[in-house]
Amino acid sequence: MRLTNFPSWLLALLALPLFTAAVHTSNWAVLVSTSRFWFNYRHLANTLSLYRTVKRLGIPDNQIILMLPDDMACNPRNTFTGSVFNDKSRMLDLYDDKGALEDLGMGGIEVDYRGNEVTVENFIRLLTDRWPSSHPHSKRLMTGPQSNVLIYMTGHGGNEFLKFQDSEEISSFDLADAFEQMYEKKRYHEMLFMIDTCQANTMYSAFYSPGVLATGSSARDQSSYSHHADQDVGVAVIDRWTYFYLEFLETRMNSTSSDIRLGELFDYMTFDRVHSDAGVRYDLLEGREQAVRERRVLDFFGNVQGVEIETGTQETQNDWKKDLEALQELGARAESQQTAPKSKDKNATASTAANGMPNVSRVSLDMAQGGGSWLKKMAGAASLAVLGGAWMASNKLTKQYAVK
């Protein structure tokens, strides 16, 4: 396996110094909880924990979009008014941790979308930035081609869908198409998509836009479990996968100059810890697995103070030429996607095209949902054979009785 991939592996190794130097100039985070009601406390706690972590690692509040569909802190059922906890020790108040961190300027919380505003439509609009002109800036994702975006979602989901507020769903294809729009509109440099829900890994199977690194908490037909409950809060307070993400980030990422690599983070999510098969999808990023695993965690969770130099606003002839070239590139990419042979394996390794661009083939829609599971196919065939045999036998028997 490794030998057959040798040329691309070599290529990745050669390109490594280029990748490790951060080329993005800003970091954004979109943190979404998609479930309402008190018993889904843990999903809000998950999201708020991530909010706290990215804030701690330097992403400012105006670059974090927080979507909370319900109010847990001031919920009448909450004994601890104004607080949300993610651990039964209740050492850390996620909602307004004024005591310990106020000197660092971390007190307070700003929720951008809340209650009934958390809908699939608003989420897609946020990603693709299609808003009426009066939409406030604080509720927009104002990213550019130099922005790294972290997207975290949690809620109740299933095979290739995620429920929003118990009343609507977003499918993996909606998400993939939204990311493609973002790619075409140059709204991100690289993206880390994280999802903690049942059958989470199916949510990123449909992605096809370059530059997206995706990770999920559980494989298809697996549930994602909660970690533990607090008896005084009365409900489960955090999910396993997020819990161990936080454990890693809290214990290993102690400063904004930590040099921890993504590979380490992903390897931390073992089956023993998470109780489900956490998955990572590397193939959409340049350099693929080997290079991506060498990325710094802070490329997505931290913030860089990069400077973007815009060279004036004068329109020159070169501008529209560049635009034209970019459009041609997009067209060529779309064409190559259509003509590319449909790969059977979802995690098909992309071949390097002649022009040097990674030729990412569109994932074919697997209606039978049987990719790879030969056991199931065999079982199906066997059951069909048994049924056929039974039918034949019964036929024979009736014949015999009819005769006698």
Binding site: T79, T81, R114, E117, H135, P136, K139, A402
Partner: protein, 628 residues
């Protein structure tokens, strides 16, 4: 000549001094214990800016973020409220600030804006929703009303228009979101508007954990222009937080807020009870005034003052505590505190860089506690309920009670969502002393506009008025239901404005008094949301069955067994079977006749369908072949 120049010099200096004072910031905390171990705390933060500075984007204490929104949307005066809980008039008396800084449960917003700026209102609610982390953008045309009598500008808007040379009229727009939750994320931006950002001064007491645990709380932002006759205008922003804390509840430690029963030996028994014995105990309260301190109730002491307006010349006191003169109050601070004591209230000025705390120990007051809590009677009591049953119709019932010996005129405003359709012919004012003087009514338009109903009513002395009307509940479209439709739909509070009259003006209470009823929860007919899926599944099944049989009838032909052509492969099989049968026949000799009968059964011309032809043929093949 000389005299006149001497006179004009101070006059020329006056605007300069005036302009300096126009950039000002003051804050004040009013504390007042209420009966039943409650504590009222009213925070007021006021900052001003000259209008010229505002117009040229120069700000000192006035929050820039809010000012830019006001400029962009051409808003002259703004009132924004976040409220939670209910003011208990029966036990707490008259409302603080005569109800002028209160809102209905949830979020309430009203503003005077340039009438010619069409998009202004939607821009304003959207911008404010971004600034205050609230879903104010849901205040759309369906939730916006234009009250006529209920509100009057607090600022001098006409003079402002003259100053700005504005020709256009100003219009008042009003919107309410009763469903909106008020929580810490609204307090954070509220504090960020303050010059000291909650780090110093009285605002350092404001903590979401305590504020949102209060029995009643309201946060308000009010922006108004104040113009002098000379045409000099200043813009004033007043931010207020009012709350009623349960002292006992607030003093619970944050780590373990769940109260546990006291051990029996710590409970004092009321020995006057007849059943009191060694095993029966009627617990007796500690009696007297409960002990509390600022740091125990609010979780922290005040961290110094937020003295920004130059400092030395400030004469005002930062904190007023309204307690009887015999109540012990200890001031805990590292530096000496200027204070003043008058009958029934004490005032303190905060130290510059030191913590400040007030401690009121547990004390049994000599005088009767009724004197300590001389509650002011509110001008009016109001309550509103939904009546009726069933999912189709309902009724609204409002009770207004005037407890005073003089008649009062009030304005009653209701803004109802479109899915509550009042029958106006059933609107009735009953009770002895009510007289409707005026009515303003804007009928609803489905999905576009809600009902706006404004009544000017005169209520006779010591009488009760009932306002009743029936309504119909609309059925929403499937996609219009919110995710928690079964909870019900919030109906905004009714706003009641008690107009000043001669009797109250004599008592020096010349201003309006506002009160709001509680918001209501209206259950609407909600469908079973899984029903469409059931329908889809059932329809698919029916279609599949119907389509399947018709398709079969259309594409399959019905033939006799004899007419079935024999395929090449089938011929070979039959020939083989024929051979086998012949061999068996030769070996057995006799058994053929039976098989012949068997063959006859099939041969009698059974009609078989295409798919089964081969089977029947295969089965009866031996017999059939035998005949030939």
């Amino acid at each position: 000549m000389r005299l006149s120049t001497l006179l004009t010099l101070p006059a020329a200096l006056l605007p300069l001094i005036y302009a300096k004072e126009q950039h000002s910031y003051t804050e004040h905390l009013h504390l007042k214990p209420l009966p039943d171990n409650s504590l009222y705390a009213g925070f007021t933060f006021t900052s001003t800016t000259p209008y010229t500075a505002y117009a040229s984007n120069h700000f000192r204490y006035f929050p820039r973020s809010l000012a830019q929104i006001l400029q962009y949307t051409h808003t002259a005066e703004l009132h924004l409220r976040f409220a939670l809980g209910r003011w208990d008039e029966e036990s707490w008396g008259s409302r603080p600030r005569r109800g002028s800084r209160e809102g209905g449960n949830g979020v309430e917003l009203w503003a005077w804006m340039d009438a010619d700026a069409e998009e202004g209102w939607s821009d304003l609610v959207n911008s404010l929703s971004g600034l205050f982390c609230a879903s104010l953008n849901f205040v759309d045309s369906g939730k916006t009303t234009r009250p006529v009598l209920s509100f009057e500008p607090e600022g001098t808007l006409e003079e402002l228009q003259e100053t700005r040379n504005g020709t256009g009229e100003l219009r008042l727009l009003h919107g309410m979101l009763p469903h909106e939750v008020v929580c810490t994320e609204n307090l954070t931006p509220f504090l960020k508007l303050l010059p000291c950002k909650g780090k110093a001064g009285i605002s350092s007491l404001l903590d979401g954990h305590k504020l949102f645990d209060a029995n009643w709380q309201t946060m308000a932002v009010d922006v108004r222009p104040i113009c002098s006759t000379g045409g000099d205008c200043i813009l004033e922003i007043q931010q207020t937080v009012d709350m009623v804390l349960d002292i006992e509840r607030s003093m619970r430690p944050r780590e373990s807020p769940i109260p546990r029963p006291l051990p029996i030996k710590d409970i004092t028994c009321d020995e006057t009870k007849g059943y009191n014995g060694h095993d029966t105990c009627y617990p007796e309260g500690p009696g007297g005034e409960m002990g509390w301190s600022l740091s125990s109730v609010f979780g922290r002491p005040i961290r110094g003052s937020c003295a920004l307006g130059g400092g030395e010349e400030e004469e005002g006191f930062d904190i007023t505590l309204k307690v009887p003169s015999e109540r012990t109050v200890e001031v805990i601070s590292e530096t000496a505190i200027p204070q003043s004591t008058s009958s029934g209230s004490r005032a303190y000025r905060l130290p510059k860089d030191a913590n400040f705390d007030l401690d009121l120990p547990h004390q049994a007051l000599e005088s009767s506690s009724s004197g300590a809590f001389a509650l002011e009677q509110p001008p009016l009591y109001a309550s509103r309920q939904l009546t009726g049953h069933g999912a189709e119709r309902g009724g609204m019932h409002t009770l207004l009670r005037n407890p005073h010996p003089y008649a009062q005129r009030i304005v009653y405003l209701e803004s109802l969502p479109w899915f509550l359709r009042p029958y106006m012919h059933t609107l009735e004012l009953s009770g002895a002393g009510g007289k409707m003087e005026k009515m303003f009514y804007t009928p609803l338009l489905d999905r576009q506009r809600g009902t706006h109903l404004e009544l000017l009513i005169e209520i006779q002395p010591r009488s009760t008025v009932e306002i009743t009307y029936d309504f119909e509940k609309a059925i929403l479209r499937y996609t219009e239901y919110p995710p928690d439709a079964n909870r019900g739909f919030d109906i905004p509070a009714a706003v009641i404005r008690v107009l000043p009259n001669n009797a109250t003006q004599d008592q020096g209470q010349g201003r309006d008094y506002y009160l709001r009823t509680t918001s209501l929860l209206l259950p609407l007919p909600t469908p079973d949301f899984s029903m469409p899926y059931n329908v889809i599944i059932l329809t698919s099944t029916v279609i599949a069955l119907g389509f399947g049989s018709i398709f079969n009838l259309l594409v399959r032909s019905f033939v006799l067994v004899e007419e079935v052509p024999v395929g090449a492969l089938a011929g070979v099989v039959w020939r083989l079977k024929d051979g086998v049968a012949r061999v068996r026949g030769m070996l057995k000799g006799g058994g053929v006749g039976k098989e012949d009968d068997g063959g006859g059964v099939v041969k009698k011309g059974e009609v078989v369908v295409g798919g089964e032809v081969r089977k029947v043929n295969g089965g009866g093949g031996g017999g059939g072949k035998k005949d030939t």
